[in-house]
Symmetry: C2
Subunit: 178 residues, 2 copies
Amino acid sequence: MEEKNGLIIVHTGNGKGKTTAALGLAIRAWGDGLRVLILQFIKGQWKYGEITALNKLNEIDGRMELRRLGKGFQRGAEDKTEHIEACHEALKEAAAAMESNNYDLIILDEINYAVKFGLITVDEVKELLAHRPKDLHVVMTGREAAREVIDMADLVTEMTLIKHPYQQGIKAQKGIEF
Amino acid sequence: MEEKNGLIIVHTGNGKGKTTAALGLAIRAWGDGLRVLILQFIKGQWKYGEITALNKLNEIDGRMELRRLGKGFQRGAEDKTEHIEACHEALKEAAAAMESNNYDLIILDEINYAVKFGLITVDEVKELLAHRPKDLHVVMTGREAAREVIDMADLVTEMTLIKHPYQQGIKAQKGIEF
């Protein structure tokens, strides 16, 4: 098997900071001259502030691309069909982006949750990762990452909620959404 | 006691992502129009890529300020005196920045570790926080956050290392330092 230098990084757990730390990695990588693509598997997790900031960086040199592909979730027992389709579209775009060799870092935001929720299978994720370029770094976020994904990863961090303002009756703050 | 709307957020634990998630919060806040100050209590934790990216954003409108105040650590039993002085200088700058009311978000990077390592006391940190403006958000990073700091916080996330590439003999990668 070909040796891979790119890292597979997983941010999982029930706490805040999984997507936020991925955003931090994206910024750091951009600052180091890498070409970054963020693919969103579940819409609605990203806030106005980060989209604005990423777009500003992308305007500078086009190396910070964000594609919002998944569908947003409503609460309740809605039909999963369109979520399944949206996530498979995101998988296809991820595969095409990997094949293009146009990126050094690809963030698959909320892909773990898409697996957990049954929108894509873990085998589809393994297949995607198996075909990645050898120097590409991949970050996968979302709670309850599958065991097989953790087994394939080089770096896994679990974000655990210790204390949350909602527990104390404090409302979310603009610019500091959590 | 005056009611505070600003949040105290703590990122602690032995895992990666504490500073990286703080960086992500800084980016999000900047994108939402907030004025951000990052004060570094221990030097050497921040990498070239993120400094470059933050400076680029700061060039746009001056709302993303980074001050690298603490000293870097060498391994070995060196004299703590200059580290203690550097951290007290950082505390003073934090207090002055809070008093200025020029910021909406202040990140006290590695302040938890500075307490743990005995460079500043937890009482000095409590005193600093007690005098913050009521709408200011404060993020405090570093492993082994003191119990008193967690008690004062609104949102606490613990980053736990589940798997690390060093364990597998993989070297750090430029742009994806961890």
